[in-house]
């Protein structure tokens, strides 16, 4: 399947060390902006008990789930040891202050 970049908004619309949600018919995607202005997108659903990761505290390129504090690496989607679990990540592209998201390649798990 070929990449399909969809524009989802401006980087400055997401607070630093924060996240916003993109609602899709396949579920919510959390789009993060780190203190260093990197942008990451992951499925907004914690591998532990489905917590909304977009509401978590962001530090480095990591988010701590708001429900039970599991930490996930935003780059890889992997839980930070000693926790385990992982979450789907989505490719993002930042161009001229606009964020593009490609979620065609990965179907969010049901």
């Amino acid at each position: 399947m070929k990449t399909e970049w969809i524009e989802i908004g401006r980087a400055e619309d997401i607070p630093r060390q924060g996240a916003r949600v993109v609602k899709t018919d396949k579920g919510d995607i959390a789009v993060f902006r780190t203190a260093e202005d990197e942008i990451y997108a992951i499925r907004n659903c914690c591998p532990h008990k489905g917590g909304p990761l977009s509401e978590g505290i962001v530090y480095g390129a990591t988010v701590a789930c708001p429900l039970h504090n599991l930490s996930l690496d935003l780059k890889t989607g992997q839980a930070v040891a000693p926790d385990d679990g992982c979450v789907t990540t989505y490719p993002v592209l930042l161009e001229g202050g606009l964020i593009y998201l490609d979620f065609s390649s990965r179907e969010p798990a049901a």
């Binding site: 989802i8 530090y59 701590a64």
Partner: protein, 811 residues
């Protein structure tokens, strides 16, 4: 970049711990080579006793597998002791002839068992108890022989004797003195220990001095100084250890009993460091791992070139790892001139407790039979806590300070493996023990991270610490001063002080001033620092929403399904029909999932989507309702009863008082949540005596109570004072809150805070120092000037709109 070369001699507990600490701080700067005399990767020496007793296998106690060395790029040579250090050429050479250059050398050669130099000491079947080889020899002896003598009735000797008995041998412990474990126990406790060990079948020969070991090739017996003899097939000498310093001595490194090191763990040769049982620091040698791990931290800090750690000394606690025997000892347990003792002695109940007190502080403790409070006493001791206020209850333990939580479960060692320890996360004892042994955990934090036990409400912390001590044999857990989080070595108090004294007003400034290890902190420190900033510099420090937990950022409680709850303030628990109508209308219009009366006399609207929040807040706001802060580390509710307005017993207008207090204090951010209540008479229907600040009306005025808690650990309040007027109630309330806001640590509720600083201290600040009290109240009112803004209204009007809207809706 050219890496520097670091060589470690001694592949044991202290040395490898230092390497682990170093890898955490500076994984890149060294090329590391490790030489070990033993044939194994680093294992947990402490757990040799359970291996001997057949309770664990050797694989269970490996701390660092060979893969670990590989993954971290460490070259490991096992079974090849270093024979020579050439300090001029900076080289080491091993017995097999391997030579390696070093830029920094770390010596951690541990110690060797002292073998009493009597005739026959080198016969076959005479061994020490130090490494896995000794254990293998003992296990082999137990298979083919019957009788064993252990010389030395100390910690190690008794564990050896217990293990050999478990392997089916007949064991006699020979001890030079008249009392066992004299370095940890006083005589009464030692006598109880001896009696219980005798019950298991262990035999003792006290005040006996070994004169010779008999036999031709293998040991057959032992002769004592008084001429008597005893047959035996195995002799285990556990009479003490000697620091292994020969190698260092030969290289001309200054040694006395151990290798001399300074507070940076540096030897007199600046490129050589040493730590562990082989060193002597400020005249002291070591025999337990807790101090060695502290040394490892400091040593790693210097090897990493950070250069600010100092090792001064450690207090240690011990525990005997003999299943079924609960024993704890710490500090100066004998006492001396100027110290006092608090004692409980119940020989038939098998319980003995002694606390040695000096200047109102715990100097030492011996516990036998019931050790549940060992960790607590040890903590009080290390923190140098003034115990004057609690001395009447001290000996009965932490549970008697009002903790009804886990008071009933007293002995970690007698809990079965499937007993649930952490009720929040459903973690059983067996799971914890397994994690400790298989993953090589040593601290409470590590157990929390790996098992989630004690990671939620924390009420089982004491029990988990006990299991840790029980499994490992000693208390390794908390260093003397707990750093605020893993990003720093600074304590809560140090951070606050820096904020105040250096006038820091932003998180970034704090991170820079205190050299934070992570550029933007972590979820533990950011909310704490954010609170300290806004509490210290109200109006000046800017609140950082991204450093707040979602509840405080979104001004509602997040629920398990990601929805939010809305709890409006009902001042003093009173509601008008209009307010009730507004809430009912809101519930209907916004299709809330459920309406629920809370435990705090308010109404909870549950199941709202985050996007709906500003609209429902606007709706409620238009009808006069504001945020109840049910989500915040903030003033929560002020519960009241109907009081003298209606009640036939009421002595004062408790509802009116509650409303005044709530109007004075609402919107205030606190170290933790803060709850109040006002009852109209001593029947106390508003449960004021389990609140952070409770007011009980009496005929002549009001009684003020502080430090209550109705949650995880129920704690009844302490009486602060009695006052006459409403003005006084408000003045003391404001001053108390401000003292708490300024001095408690983040996430410390008033109950634990009060227990930490002592009721006398708070009384002194609030009752004896009138000017100080007024100043506190004044600072509280100043900070309230900007705090009493309804956050719901601000957001309904559009503030931080991004928080409540999706970035984009697709499809």
């Amino acid at each position: 970049m050219n890496k520097k070369r670091l060589v470690l001699i001694g592949n044991g507990m202290a040395g490898i711990r230092a390497i682990e600490e170093l890898l955490k701080l500076a994984p890149e700067i060294y090329e590391i080579t490790v030489f070990g005399a033993e044939h194994h990767p680093n294992y947990n020496r402490i757990l040799l006793s359970p291996v001997l007793a057949g309770e664990k296998s050797f694989d269970d106690i490996i701390l660092n597998s060979r893969e670990w060395y590989e993954q971290n790029g460490i070259r490991l040579h096992t079974g090849d002791p270093v024979q020579e250090i050439d300090r001029v050429r900076r080289k080491v050479r091993t017995v097999s002839g391997i030579e390696t250059d070093y830029d920094r050398l770390l010596i951690a050669t541990g110690s060797t068992p002292f073998i009493i130099p009597v005739p026959g000491a080198s016969l076959e079947g005479v061994i020490g108890f130090r490494d896995i080889r000794d254990v293998e020899l003992m296990l082999a002896a137990a298979k083919s022989h019957k009788k064993a003598v252990v010389i030395g009735g100390g910690l190690l000797g008794l564990e050896a004797a217990n293990g050999l008995m478990k392997q089916g041998m007949e064991v006699t412990v020979v001890h030079l003195l008249d009392s066992l474990m004299e370095r940890q126990l006083d005589k009464p406790a030692a006598a109880m220990l001896k009696a219980s060990l005798e019950e298991t079948g262990m035999r003792f020969l006290m005040e006996a001095q070994t004169a010779a070991i008999l036999g031709n090739q293998r040991v057959t017996g032992i002769r004592f100084a008084d001429g008597s003899e005893m047959e035996t097939d195995l002799v285990v000498m556990a009479v003490g250890i000697r620091p292994s310093i020969e190698l260092a001595q030969r290289a001309g490194i200054r040694c006395e009993r151990g290798i001399l090191v300074d507070d940076c763990l540096q030897t007199f040769d600046p490129s050589i460091y040493a730590l562990g049982e082989c060193v002597q620091h400020r005249g002291q040698c070591f025999g337990l791992v807790a101090p060695l791990f502290e040394q490892a931290k400091v040593c790693a800090n210097h090897l990493a070139g950070l250069g600010y750690g100092r090792y001064t000394s450690s207090v240690t606690a011990t525990k005997l790892k003999v299943t079924g025997i609960d024993l704890f000892s710490a500090g100066d347990f004998q006492g001396s001139d100027g110290s006092e003792e608090i004692l409980l002695r119940d020989p038939s109940g098998g319980i003995y407790k002694k606390l040695v007190i000096r200047d109102d502080r715990i100097a030492g403790a011996v516990l036998y039979g019931d050790t549940i409070d060992g960790a607590w006493y040890f903590q009080l001791m290390r923190e140098g806590r003034d115990i004057a206020d609690i001395r009447d209850r001290l000996l009965f333990g932490e549970a008697h300070l009002g903790d009804s939580g886990h008071g009933g479960q007293s002995k970690a060692s007698t809990l079965s493996d499937d007993a649930q320890v952490c009720d929040c996360n459903g973690v059983c004892k067996g799971t914890i023990v397994k994690a400790i042994t298989t993953k090589g955990l040593f601290t409470l934090d590590e157990v929390k991270a790996h098992t989630k036990a004690a990671a939620s409400c924390g009420s089982c912390t004491g029990l988990v610490e006990q299991i840790l001590a029980d499994t490992l044999g000693s208390d390794y857990s908390t260093p003397e001063l707990k750093p605020l989080c893993k990003c720093t070595d600074a304590t809560h108090d140090a951070v606050r002080q820096a904020i105040r004294e250096q006038h820091l007003t932003s998180l970034g400034a704090v991170f820079e001033a205190l050299a934070w290890r992570r550029p933007d902190g972590c979820p533990a420190c950011r909310p704490a620092i954010n609170y300290y900033l806004i509490a210290t510099w109200p109006g000046e420090a800017r609140d950082d929403p991204q450093s707040r937990f979602i509840n405080e950022r979104a001004h509602g409680n997040i629920q398990k399904d990601g929805s939010f709850s809305v709890i409006p303030r009902l001042w003093g628990g009173r509601a008008t029909p209009d307010e009730l109508r507004a809430i009912a209308d809101a519930a209907e219009r916004f299709h809330v999932g459920e309406v629920h009366l809370t435990g705090g006399q308010r109404i909870n609207l549950l199941g709202l989507k985050k996007e709906q929040l500003p609209a429902i807040w606007a709706f409620l706001g238009e009808r006069g309702l504001v945020s109840g802060h049910a989500y915040g580390k903030a003033l929560r509710t002020v519960k009241t009863c109907v009081g003298s307005t209606w009640c036939r017993f009421g002595t004062q207008d408790s509802t009116g008082m509650g409303i005044e207090l709530e109007q004075m204090t609402w919107g205030s951010w606190m170290p933790h949540k803060f709850k109040m209540a006002v009852s109209g008479c001593p029947r106390n229907c508003a449960e004021a005596t389990i609140k952070d600040f409770g007011v009980v009306a009496i005929d002549s005025g009001w009684e003020l109570h502080i430090g209550g808690n109705g949650g995880v650990k129920v704690r009844a309040t302490d009486l602060l004072c009695r006052v006459k007027s409403t003005q006084e109630v408000k003045a003391y309330c404001a001053a108390f809150i401000q003292l708490y806001r300024e001095e408690a640590r983040y996430l410390e509720r008033t109950a634990p805070w009060l227990e930490r600083v002592g009721l006398s201290y708070v009384k002194q600040r609030l009752l004896e120092d009138e000017m100080g009290r007024n100043a506190l109240a004044k600072r509280f009112h100043e900070s309230q000037r900007i705090a009493k803004q309804d956050p719901w209204r601000e957001r309904a009007e559009g503030r931080e709109a991004h928080e409540f809207e999706p970035l984009k809706i697709l499809g």
